[in-house]
Amino acid sequence: MSLLDNYYFRKGRNISLFLLLIVFTWAIFTNLVDGDWGSLENSIDNLSIFFYESLWPPNWQVLQPQSYPPCEESAIFDFKCSTAWIGMTETLKIAFVATIFGMLLSLPISLLAARNLNPLWVSYPARIILASFRSLPSIIWAILFVILIGFGPISGTLAMTFYTVGYLGKLQYESFEGISKDPLDAAEVMGLNKIEKSIGVVIPESANNLISQLIFMFEYNVRHGTVIGIVGAGGIGYYINLYLKFLQYDKVIAYLIIIFITVVIIDLISIYARSFFTEKENLKRPTWRTWEEIFIPEFLRLKYKKE
């Protein structure tokens, strides 16, 4: 077979495999539905009824100060006594502390788990430890800690820390294993020991990735902070759960909008922060003009004089 024939054979094989994957996925989905396609028929109508009768319009009372304890803030800042503000700031605090604690705990384990630093009999047990932290979703960790410690942000922080160790640890050892072999070879020949290689070569070489992952993990923890609150582990999820029980969906949607806005803001800050730690020096860093390009149609934008 000539090189060209080989090329077309491989291309054809890849397309066939892709089509086969789609057919296979559809077959599994059909099996899951088990002939009950009728359940999909009224779904849009149901959603529409639920949305207009229960969810919309959002009840912005969640941004008003609670009646008890009395609010001591001035009238402009009295939203700081609202359940939305208290819940959201608590979620952010839990996410921040859990991310940093999780990073401190996961870093030594992930260094042990990196196969380019340690033999398999060290790296595999370390990987199993990280996998065990990761195998339980954060909400299960939260339930465990609520049983152990009781309701409140401490349970939430610990639950999220444990999950962060597993998740961040995996990202970290993948980064460590992805670094170039040459600096490690040079360090090996020089006679540097494992601690020196870890601190002097591996961590600085993957520092950009580590920082980027840390910011991503914080974002992730903020999103999940809402979920763990539902089981009583503190944060805005506590209030969502409260109003779900009372079927006050208009307040629930208000909380969800607040979470959405917060996550979008964190996402934008994280894109900006991560742009400082990227390998590509010429990557476009978001500025206020970028936001203008995203959110304002071209004909409404301010015109700038060229320098």
């Binding site: 170039s180 040459d182 600096p183 490690l184 070879d185 040079a186 360090a187 090996e188 020949v189 020089m190 006679g191 540097l192 020991n193 601690i195 020196e196 601190i199 002097g200 070569v201 600085p204 070489e205 993957s206 520092a207 950009n208 390998e279 020096e281």
Partner: protein, 227 residues
């Protein structure tokens, strides 16, 4: 310094790259290896460095911490760290017997001396990935000089440098070898420079390491063979 006996090297035991009956490097010697690309020069350096297990035979080279310096072809620098951080890695290997969180003043002085001698003191706090190729080569050389090793393995350490800088880096490295009675094995493609630097010039061809006299006549034959 280095003794090689009945060595066969390569990545696949069925396809050995180079076989060497006997090869020794004495203290104070400058050995230059040359030969076509992909012939096994880098593999030989890596085998001497202990990074690759030989297929058969024995290599005796300095084994203690800091005694062996290595400038890989791709330099092996920590790209996201500063020049000083990279050079300090070498200095710590050469001047500290074990890891401590604080740098020793001897290691620091040695690093600064190496940085000064190679003319990179202006950007010692710059991040390596922001430097040019030539500047990076000098950083890798400084890291090895700061280590003060007994044997240096340098894989094309002068490439990407302009003529003037090449002269400077070459003279600094050769001065170090002379003053410290150390040895160096250099992989170099430029035959003129190879002849100029070497005490003994070796060429790898047909899977064998062959020594060439560095006289004008025999040297021109090496050049012809290379062409």
């Amino acid at each position: 310094m280095v003794i090689i006996e009945d060595l066969t090297i390569g990545y696949d035991s069925n396809k050995p790259l180079v076989s060497i009956d006997k090869f020794t490097v004495n203290p104070g010697e400058v050995i230059v290896l040359t030969g076509e690309s992909g012939i096994g020069k880098t593999t030989l350096l890596k085998t001497i460095a202990g990074l690759i297990e030989p297929i058969s035979g024995k290599v005796t080279a300095p084994e203690k911490r800091g005694e062996l310096g290595y400038i890989p072809q791709n330099l092996g620098l920590v790209r996201h760290a500063t020049v000083m951080h990279n050079v300090m890695l070498g200095a710590n290997a050469g001047h500290k017997q074990f890891w401590t969180p604080l740098p020793s003043s001897i290691a620091k002085d040695s690093a600064l001396d190496a940085i000064d001698s190679l003319g990179i003191s202006n950007y010692k706090f710059k991040i390596v990935r922001r430097l040019s190729g030539g500047e990076r080569r000098r950083v890798a050389t400084a890291r090895t000089l700061a280590q003060k090793p007994k044997l240096i393995l340098a894989d094309e350490f002068l490439s990407e440098l302009d003529e003037k800088t090449k002269e400077k880096v070459q003279s600094e490295v050769l001065n170090y070898i002379t003053n410290n009675n150390s040895s160096i094995i250099i992989v170099e493609h430029d035959l003129i420079r190879a002849k100029e630097m070497s005490d003994r010039l070796f060429m790898i061809s047909d899977g064998k390491l062959k020594e060439h006299l560095t006289e004008e006549k025999s040297f021109s034959s090496v050049a012809n063979e290379e062409e």
